[in-house]
Symmetry: C2
Protein backbone atom coordinates (compact mmCIF):
# COMPACT_ATOMS: atom_id res chain seq x y z
CA UNK A 1 0.00 0.00 0.00
CA UNK A 2 1.43 3.39 -0.93
CA UNK A 3 0.34 6.39 1.06
CA UNK A 4 -0.24 9.79 -0.47
CA UNK A 5 2.97 10.91 1.28
CA UNK A 6 4.94 8.16 -0.49
CA UNK A 7 3.38 9.28 -3.72
CA UNK A 8 4.51 12.86 -3.16
CA UNK A 9 8.01 11.71 -2.32
CA UNK A 10 8.25 9.56 -5.42
CA UNK A 11 7.02 12.38 -7.59
CA UNK A 12 9.64 14.65 -6.04
CA UNK A 13 12.34 12.13 -6.96
CA UNK A 14 11.09 12.09 -10.53
CA UNK A 15 11.24 15.89 -10.67
CA UNK A 16 14.76 15.95 -9.25
CA UNK A 17 15.84 13.44 -11.87
CA UNK A 18 14.25 15.60 -14.58
CA UNK A 19 16.20 18.60 -13.28
CA UNK A 20 19.44 16.62 -13.35
CA UNK A 21 18.69 15.34 -16.86
CA UNK A 22 18.06 18.85 -18.09
CA UNK A 23 21.38 20.07 -16.68
CA UNK A 24 23.12 17.13 -18.34
CA UNK A 25 21.42 17.89 -21.63
CA UNK A 26 22.60 21.49 -21.34
CA UNK A 27 26.15 20.37 -20.50
CA UNK A 28 26.13 18.07 -23.54
CA UNK A 29 25.04 20.95 -25.77
CA UNK A 30 27.77 23.23 -24.37
CA UNK A 31 30.43 20.51 -24.75
CA UNK A 32 29.45 19.94 -28.36
CA UNK A 33 29.45 23.70 -29.13
CA UNK A 34 32.91 24.03 -27.61
CA UNK A 35 34.19 21.06 -29.65
CA UNK A 36 32.70 22.57 -32.83
CA UNK A 37 34.16 26.00 -32.09
CA UNK A 38 37.61 24.47 -31.72
CA UNK A 39 37.07 22.47 -34.90
CA UNK A 40 36.11 25.67 -36.71
CA UNK A 41 39.42 27.16 -35.52
CA UNK A 42 41.49 24.12 -36.51
CA UNK A 43 39.83 23.59 -39.89
CA UNK A 44 39.54 27.35 -40.57
CA UNK A 45 35.86 26.72 -41.28
CA UNK A 46 33.56 29.73 -41.45
CA UNK A 47 30.56 27.41 -41.88
CA UNK A 48 31.17 25.48 -38.65
CA UNK A 49 31.83 28.72 -36.75
CA UNK A 50 28.55 30.19 -37.97
CA UNK A 51 26.75 27.01 -36.92
CA UNK A 52 27.95 27.52 -33.33
CA UNK A 53 27.13 31.24 -33.37
CA UNK A 54 23.52 30.44 -34.27
CA UNK A 55 23.20 27.93 -31.44
CA UNK A 56 23.09 30.34 -28.50
CA UNK A 57 19.28 30.50 -28.03
CA UNK A 58 19.11 26.73 -27.40
CA UNK A 59 21.33 26.98 -24.30
CA UNK A 60 19.49 30.09 -23.10
CA UNK A 61 16.11 28.38 -23.29
CA UNK A 62 17.34 25.41 -21.25
CA UNK A 63 18.81 27.80 -18.68
CA UNK A 64 15.47 29.52 -18.15
CA UNK A 65 13.70 26.16 -17.90
CA UNK A 66 16.16 24.93 -15.26
CA UNK A 67 15.73 28.12 -13.21
CA UNK A 68 11.97 27.81 -13.38
CA UNK A 69 12.14 24.15 -12.39
CA UNK A 70 14.34 24.99 -9.39
CA UNK A 71 11.98 27.72 -8.21
CA UNK A 72 8.96 25.45 -8.65
CA UNK A 73 10.63 22.65 -6.67
CA UNK A 74 11.57 25.08 -3.89
CA UNK A 75 8.06 26.51 -3.77
CA UNK A 76 6.02 23.30 -3.98
CA UNK A 77 8.27 20.69 -2.40
CA UNK A 78 10.02 22.68 0.32
CA UNK A 79 12.99 20.33 0.22
CA UNK A 80 15.46 20.00 3.07
CA UNK A 81 19.12 19.10 3.57
CA UNK A 82 20.65 17.20 0.62
CA UNK A 83 17.83 17.96 -1.85
CA UNK A 84 17.79 21.64 -0.93
CA UNK A 85 21.54 21.90 -1.46
CA UNK A 86 21.18 20.05 -4.76
CA UNK A 87 18.66 22.60 -6.02
CA UNK A 88 20.74 25.56 -4.79
CA UNK A 89 23.76 23.99 -6.54
CA UNK A 90 21.68 23.60 -9.70
CA UNK A 91 20.84 27.32 -9.67
CA UNK A 92 24.58 28.04 -9.62
CA UNK A 93 25.62 25.35 -12.10
CA UNK A 94 23.08 26.42 -14.71
CA UNK A 95 24.55 29.94 -14.66
CA UNK A 96 28.05 28.56 -15.20
CA UNK A 97 26.86 26.36 -18.05
CA UNK A 98 25.14 29.28 -19.73
CA UNK A 99 28.32 31.39 -19.53
CA UNK A 100 30.35 28.48 -20.92
CA UNK A 101 27.90 28.35 -23.82
CA UNK A 102 28.44 32.10 -24.39
CA UNK A 103 32.20 31.57 -24.32
CA UNK A 104 31.94 28.78 -26.90
CA UNK A 105 30.08 31.27 -29.12
CA UNK A 106 32.78 33.89 -28.48
CA UNK A 107 35.42 31.36 -29.53
CA UNK A 108 33.44 30.61 -32.69
CA UNK A 109 33.27 34.34 -33.50
CA UNK A 110 37.03 34.66 -33.14
CA UNK A 111 37.55 31.45 -35.14
CA UNK A 112 35.38 32.86 -37.90
CA UNK A 113 37.39 36.09 -38.05
CA UNK A 114 40.64 34.08 -38.12
CA UNK A 115 39.30 31.79 -40.86
CA UNK A 116 38.52 34.88 -42.94
CA UNK A 117 42.07 36.28 -42.63
CA UNK A 118 45.34 34.81 -43.94
CA UNK A 119 46.85 32.02 -41.84
CA UNK A 120 49.23 32.96 -39.05
CA UNK A 121 52.41 30.91 -39.34
CA UNK A 122 53.50 29.21 -37.20
CA UNK A 123 49.95 28.45 -36.14
CA UNK A 124 49.80 28.35 -32.37
CA UNK A 125 48.52 24.98 -31.21
CA UNK A 126 45.73 25.61 -28.72
CA UNK A 127 44.94 21.87 -28.79
CA UNK A 128 46.40 21.06 -25.36
CA UNK A 129 44.50 23.92 -23.64
CA UNK A 130 41.29 22.94 -25.42
CA UNK A 131 41.69 19.25 -24.54
CA UNK A 132 42.41 20.00 -20.88
CA UNK A 133 39.47 22.43 -20.73
CA UNK A 134 37.07 19.96 -22.32
CA UNK A 135 38.19 17.23 -19.90
CA UNK A 136 37.57 19.54 -16.93
CA UNK A 137 34.10 20.44 -18.20
CA UNK A 138 33.23 16.80 -18.77
CA UNK A 139 34.59 15.59 -15.42
CA UNK A 140 32.91 18.35 -13.42
CA UNK A 141 29.57 17.36 -14.92
CA UNK A 142 30.26 13.63 -14.41
CA UNK A 143 31.03 14.43 -10.78
CA UNK A 144 27.72 16.26 -10.57
CA UNK A 145 25.68 13.40 -12.03
CA UNK A 146 27.25 10.81 -9.77
CA UNK A 147 27.45 13.02 -6.71
CA UNK A 148 31.17 12.19 -6.73
CA UNK A 149 32.96 14.75 -4.55
CA UNK A 150 36.38 13.09 -5.01
CA UNK A 151 36.15 13.48 -8.76
CA UNK A 152 35.06 17.10 -8.28
CA UNK A 153 38.15 17.69 -6.15
CA UNK A 154 40.39 16.31 -8.88
CA UNK A 155 38.91 18.93 -11.22
CA UNK A 156 39.84 21.74 -8.84
CA UNK A 157 43.44 20.58 -8.73
CA UNK A 158 43.75 20.75 -12.51
CA UNK A 159 42.97 24.44 -12.86
CA UNK A 160 46.63 25.37 -12.39
CA UNK A 161 47.60 23.23 -15.39
CA UNK A 162 45.32 25.30 -17.60
CA UNK A 163 46.72 28.50 -16.15
CA UNK A 164 50.27 27.39 -17.00
CA UNK A 165 49.29 26.40 -20.54
CA UNK A 166 47.54 29.73 -20.95
CA UNK A 167 50.58 31.71 -19.80
CA UNK A 168 52.78 29.78 -22.21
CA UNK A 169 50.44 30.47 -25.15
CA UNK A 170 50.25 34.08 -24.06
CA UNK A 171 54.04 34.49 -24.10
CA UNK A 172 54.31 32.85 -27.54
CA UNK A 173 51.74 35.25 -28.97
CA UNK A 174 53.36 38.33 -27.41
CA UNK A 175 56.69 37.28 -28.94
CA UNK A 176 55.06 36.78 -32.33
CA UNK A 177 53.51 40.27 -32.23
CA UNK A 178 56.80 41.87 -31.27
CA UNK A 179 58.70 40.06 -33.99
CA UNK A 180 56.26 40.66 -36.82
CA UNK A 181 53.61 43.35 -36.56
CA UNK A 182 51.62 41.77 -39.40
CA UNK A 183 50.64 39.02 -36.95
CA UNK A 184 49.03 41.41 -34.43
CA UNK A 185 45.37 40.99 -35.44
CA UNK A 186 45.55 37.23 -35.56
CA UNK A 187 47.66 36.88 -32.43
CA UNK A 188 45.12 38.98 -30.52
CA UNK A 189 42.36 36.71 -31.84
CA UNK A 190 44.17 33.60 -30.60
CA UNK A 191 44.93 35.30 -27.29
CA UNK A 192 41.25 35.87 -26.66
CA UNK A 193 40.41 32.29 -27.64
CA UNK A 194 43.00 31.05 -25.12
CA UNK A 195 41.52 33.40 -22.51
CA UNK A 196 37.99 32.11 -23.25
CA UNK A 197 39.21 28.52 -22.80
CA UNK A 198 40.78 29.46 -19.50
CA UNK A 199 37.50 31.00 -18.37
CA UNK A 200 35.60 27.84 -19.35
CA UNK A 201 38.02 25.94 -17.13
CA UNK A 202 37.29 28.44 -14.34
CA UNK A 203 33.57 27.80 -14.73
CA UNK A 204 34.25 24.05 -14.53
CA UNK A 205 35.94 24.60 -11.18
CA UNK A 206 32.85 26.55 -10.09
CA UNK A 207 30.71 23.55 -11.05
CA UNK A 208 33.07 21.21 -9.17
CA UNK A 209 32.87 23.44 -6.08
CA UNK A 210 29.08 23.40 -6.25
CA UNK A 211 29.16 19.57 -6.48
CA UNK A 212 31.35 19.28 -3.38
CA UNK A 213 29.05 21.66 -1.54
CA UNK A 214 25.97 19.73 -2.54
CA UNK A 215 27.45 16.31 -1.70
CA UNK A 216 29.29 17.16 1.49
CA UNK A 217 27.40 20.25 2.61
CA UNK A 218 30.81 21.87 2.89
CA UNK A 219 31.94 25.01 1.17
CA UNK A 220 35.33 24.48 -0.48
CA UNK A 221 35.38 27.66 -2.48
CA UNK A 222 38.32 29.93 -1.99
CA UNK A 223 40.28 27.19 -0.23
CA UNK A 224 42.19 26.11 -3.33
CA UNK A 225 44.54 28.60 -4.84
CA UNK A 226 42.87 29.48 -8.12
CA UNK A 227 45.30 31.98 -9.52
CA UNK A 228 44.26 33.75 -12.62
CA UNK A 229 46.94 35.23 -14.84
CA UNK B 1 -1.08 41.23 21.09
CA UNK B 2 1.37 39.57 18.78
CA UNK B 3 0.88 35.92 17.98
CA UNK B 4 3.73 33.50 17.55
CA UNK B 5 2.95 33.51 13.81
CA UNK B 6 3.37 37.28 13.67
CA UNK B 7 6.62 36.86 15.50
CA UNK B 8 7.89 34.35 12.94
CA UNK B 9 6.86 36.61 10.07
CA UNK B 10 8.60 39.60 11.61
CA UNK B 11 11.71 37.63 12.18
CA UNK B 12 11.67 36.52 8.54
CA UNK B 13 11.48 40.15 7.44
CA UNK B 14 14.47 40.95 9.62
CA UNK B 15 16.42 38.08 8.06
CA UNK B 16 15.53 39.19 4.54
CA UNK B 17 16.72 42.68 5.38
CA UNK B 18 19.96 41.26 6.75
CA UNK B 19 20.44 39.34 3.51
CA UNK B 20 19.85 42.48 1.46
CA UNK B 21 22.23 44.48 3.69
CA UNK B 22 24.94 41.88 3.27
CA UNK B 23 24.60 41.97 -0.53
CA UNK B 24 24.79 45.76 -0.40
CA UNK B 25 27.86 45.62 1.78
CA UNK B 26 29.46 43.23 -0.70
CA UNK B 27 28.52 45.51 -3.62
CA UNK B 28 30.06 48.47 -1.78
CA UNK B 29 33.29 46.55 -1.26
CA UNK B 30 33.42 45.53 -4.94
CA UNK B 31 32.70 49.11 -6.08
CA UNK B 32 35.47 50.45 -3.90
CA UNK B 33 37.96 47.81 -5.11
CA UNK B 34 37.12 48.64 -8.72
CA UNK B 35 37.58 52.36 -8.06
CA UNK B 36 40.93 51.68 -6.36
CA UNK B 37 42.09 49.39 -9.18
CA UNK B 38 41.36 52.13 -11.72
CA UNK B 39 43.11 54.67 -9.49
CA UNK B 40 46.15 52.38 -9.34
CA UNK B 41 46.14 52.35 -13.15
CA UNK B 42 45.71 56.12 -13.49
CA UNK B 43 48.26 57.03 -10.80
CA UNK B 44 50.65 54.20 -11.76
CA UNK B 45 50.60 53.19 -8.11
CA UNK B 46 51.99 49.76 -7.19
CA UNK B 47 50.96 50.31 -3.57
CA UNK B 48 47.26 50.89 -4.35
CA UNK B 49 47.24 47.93 -6.75
CA UNK B 50 48.69 45.65 -4.08
CA UNK B 51 46.08 46.88 -1.61
CA UNK B 52 43.30 45.68 -3.97
CA UNK B 53 45.06 42.37 -4.67
CA UNK B 54 45.13 41.60 -0.96
CA UNK B 55 41.42 42.32 -0.58
CA UNK B 56 40.01 39.24 -2.31
CA UNK B 57 39.31 37.10 0.81
CA UNK B 58 36.95 39.74 2.20
CA UNK B 59 34.56 39.42 -0.78
CA UNK B 60 34.83 35.62 -0.73
CA UNK B 61 33.86 35.42 2.93
CA UNK B 62 30.78 37.58 2.35
CA UNK B 63 29.83 35.38 -0.63
CA UNK B 64 29.87 32.22 1.46
CA UNK B 65 27.87 33.94 4.21
CA UNK B 66 25.22 35.08 1.72
CA UNK B 67 24.92 31.57 0.26
CA UNK B 68 24.56 30.08 3.73
CA UNK B 69 21.96 32.65 4.65
CA UNK B 70 19.95 31.91 1.49
CA UNK B 71 20.02 28.16 2.14
CA UNK B 72 19.01 28.68 5.76
CA UNK B 73 16.10 30.92 4.78
CA UNK B 74 14.93 28.41 2.18
CA UNK B 75 15.18 25.54 4.66
CA UNK B 76 13.64 27.16 7.72
CA UNK B 77 11.22 29.70 6.28
CA UNK B 78 9.98 27.93 3.18
CA UNK B 79 9.23 31.24 1.51
CA UNK B 80 6.81 31.61 -1.39
CA UNK B 81 6.29 33.89 -4.38
CA UNK B 82 8.07 37.26 -4.09
CA UNK B 83 10.33 36.24 -1.19
CA UNK B 84 11.31 32.98 -2.83
CA UNK B 85 12.25 34.77 -6.04
CA UNK B 86 14.19 37.32 -4.01
CA UNK B 87 16.27 34.57 -2.41
CA UNK B 88 16.84 32.77 -5.72
CA UNK B 89 17.88 36.13 -7.22
CA UNK B 90 20.26 36.66 -4.29
CA UNK B 91 21.94 33.30 -4.99
CA UNK B 92 22.60 34.54 -8.53
CA UNK B 93 23.56 38.10 -7.65
CA UNK B 94 26.10 37.04 -5.04
CA UNK B 95 27.91 34.96 -7.69
CA UNK B 96 28.03 37.93 -10.04
CA UNK B 97 29.34 40.20 -7.28
CA UNK B 98 32.06 37.72 -6.40
CA UNK B 99 33.20 37.51 -10.04
CA UNK B 100 33.20 41.31 -10.26
CA UNK B 101 35.42 41.35 -7.18
CA UNK B 102 37.78 38.88 -8.91
CA UNK B 103 37.83 41.09 -12.00
CA UNK B 104 38.70 44.16 -9.91
CA UNK B 105 41.65 42.15 -8.55
CA UNK B 106 42.62 41.14 -12.12
CA UNK B 107 42.56 44.81 -13.13
CA UNK B 108 44.76 45.66 -10.14
CA UNK B 109 47.25 42.95 -11.17
CA UNK B 110 47.46 44.37 -14.69
CA UNK B 111 47.70 47.92 -13.29
CA UNK B 112 50.59 46.83 -11.08
CA UNK B 113 52.47 45.31 -14.03
CA UNK B 114 51.86 48.48 -16.05
CA UNK B 115 53.04 50.69 -13.17
CA UNK B 116 56.25 48.67 -13.04
CA UNK B 117 56.98 49.14 -16.76
CA UNK B 118 57.74 52.37 -18.64
CA UNK B 119 54.72 54.49 -19.54
CA UNK B 120 52.96 53.84 -22.83
CA UNK B 121 52.53 57.09 -24.74
CA UNK B 122 49.95 58.13 -25.70
CA UNK B 123 48.32 56.61 -22.63
CA UNK B 124 44.95 55.20 -23.61
CA UNK B 125 42.20 56.78 -21.56
CA UNK B 126 40.07 53.98 -20.13
CA UNK B 127 38.26 56.57 -17.98
CA UNK B 128 35.02 56.61 -20.00
CA UNK B 129 34.71 52.78 -19.98
CA UNK B 130 35.48 52.69 -16.26
CA UNK B 131 32.98 55.45 -15.47
CA UNK B 132 30.23 53.79 -17.52
CA UNK B 133 30.98 50.40 -15.94
CA UNK B 134 30.95 51.80 -12.41
CA UNK B 135 27.63 53.55 -13.07
CA UNK B 136 26.11 50.28 -14.34
CA UNK B 137 27.33 48.39 -11.28
CA UNK B 138 25.98 51.06 -8.95
CA UNK B 139 22.62 51.38 -10.70
CA UNK B 140 22.03 47.62 -10.91
CA UNK B 141 22.55 47.37 -7.16
CA UNK B 142 20.38 50.44 -6.50
CA UNK B 143 17.67 48.79 -8.58
CA UNK B 144 18.06 45.67 -6.47
CA UNK B 145 17.75 47.50 -3.13
CA UNK B 146 14.70 49.44 -4.23
CA UNK B 147 13.12 46.60 -6.18
CA UNK B 148 13.08 49.06 -9.09
CA UNK B 149 12.58 47.08 -12.30
CA UNK B 150 12.50 50.22 -14.50
CA UNK B 151 15.93 51.25 -13.30
CA UNK B 152 17.16 47.68 -13.88
CA UNK B 153 15.89 47.88 -17.46
CA UNK B 154 17.81 51.10 -18.05
CA UNK B 155 20.98 49.21 -17.04
CA UNK B 156 20.35 46.54 -19.67
CA UNK B 157 20.03 49.15 -22.38
CA UNK B 158 23.44 50.63 -21.53
CA UNK B 159 25.45 47.47 -22.17
CA UNK B 160 25.82 48.34 -25.86
CA UNK B 161 27.49 51.65 -24.96
CA UNK B 162 30.21 49.75 -23.09
CA UNK B 163 30.64 47.35 -25.99
CA UNK B 164 31.16 50.28 -28.39
CA UNK B 165 33.67 51.95 -26.06
CA UNK B 166 35.48 48.63 -25.69
CA UNK B 167 35.72 48.10 -29.45
CA UNK B 168 37.08 51.61 -29.89
CA UNK B 169 39.77 51.07 -27.20
CA UNK B 170 40.54 47.71 -28.75
CA UNK B 171 41.14 49.24 -32.19
CA UNK B 172 43.35 51.97 -30.75
CA UNK B 173 45.51 49.39 -28.99
CA UNK B 174 45.79 47.15 -32.04
CA UNK B 175 46.94 50.17 -34.08
CA UNK B 176 49.51 51.06 -31.45
CA UNK B 177 50.95 47.52 -31.45
CA UNK B 178 51.20 47.49 -35.24
CA UNK B 179 52.87 50.88 -35.35
CA UNK B 180 55.39 50.31 -32.57
CA UNK B 181 56.22 46.81 -31.37
CA UNK B 182 57.73 48.19 -28.17
CA UNK B 183 54.17 48.95 -27.01
CA UNK B 184 52.96 45.33 -27.29
CA UNK B 185 53.30 44.30 -23.65
CA UNK B 186 51.63 47.38 -22.34
CA UNK B 187 48.92 47.47 -25.00
CA UNK B 188 48.02 43.86 -24.18
CA UNK B 189 47.82 44.82 -20.49
CA UNK B 190 45.42 47.68 -21.25
CA UNK B 191 43.43 45.44 -23.60
CA UNK B 192 42.79 42.97 -20.81
CA UNK B 193 41.84 45.75 -18.41
CA UNK B 194 39.31 47.01 -20.96
CA UNK B 195 38.03 43.45 -21.36
CA UNK B 196 37.70 43.05 -17.58
CA UNK B 197 35.71 46.29 -17.40
CA UNK B 198 33.43 45.03 -20.15
CA UNK B 199 32.88 41.81 -18.22
CA UNK B 200 32.03 43.75 -15.05
CA UNK B 201 29.41 45.56 -17.13
CA UNK B 202 28.12 42.16 -18.31
CA UNK B 203 27.80 41.03 -14.70
CA UNK B 204 25.87 44.22 -13.92
CA UNK B 205 23.39 43.32 -16.64
CA UNK B 206 23.07 39.86 -15.03
CA UNK B 207 22.26 41.56 -11.72
CA UNK B 208 19.73 43.82 -13.47
CA UNK B 209 18.10 40.79 -15.08
CA UNK B 210 17.87 39.05 -11.71
CA UNK B 211 16.22 42.18 -10.26
CA UNK B 212 13.59 42.28 -13.00
CA UNK B 213 12.92 38.59 -12.48
CA UNK B 214 12.59 39.02 -8.74
CA UNK B 215 10.33 42.08 -8.99
CA UNK B 216 8.14 41.08 -11.90
CA UNK B 217 8.51 37.30 -11.77
CA UNK B 218 9.34 37.58 -15.44
CA UNK B 219 12.47 36.30 -17.09
CA UNK B 220 13.99 38.98 -19.33
CA UNK B 221 17.26 37.25 -19.97
CA UNK B 222 18.24 36.69 -23.55
CA UNK B 223 15.60 39.12 -24.80
CA UNK B 224 17.99 42.04 -25.10
CA UNK B 225 20.75 41.77 -27.62
CA UNK B 226 23.87 41.57 -25.47
CA UNK B 227 26.52 41.34 -28.12
CA UNK B 228 29.99 40.62 -26.94
CA UNK B 229 32.89 41.59 -29.16
Amino acid sequence: MTTSHDHILKHFDVELRELKDKLLLMAGVVESHLASAMQALGDRSVAIAEEVEKSDPEVNVIEMEVDEQCIRLLALRQPAAYDLRFIAASLKIVTDLERMGDLAVNIAERAEALARSPQLLPQLDLGPIAAATQAMLKDSLDAFVRGDADKAESVLLRDNVIDDLFLEAFRTLIESMKRDSSTVDRAVGLMFIAKHLERIADHSTNVAEAVIYHVRGKDVRHKFSLQRP
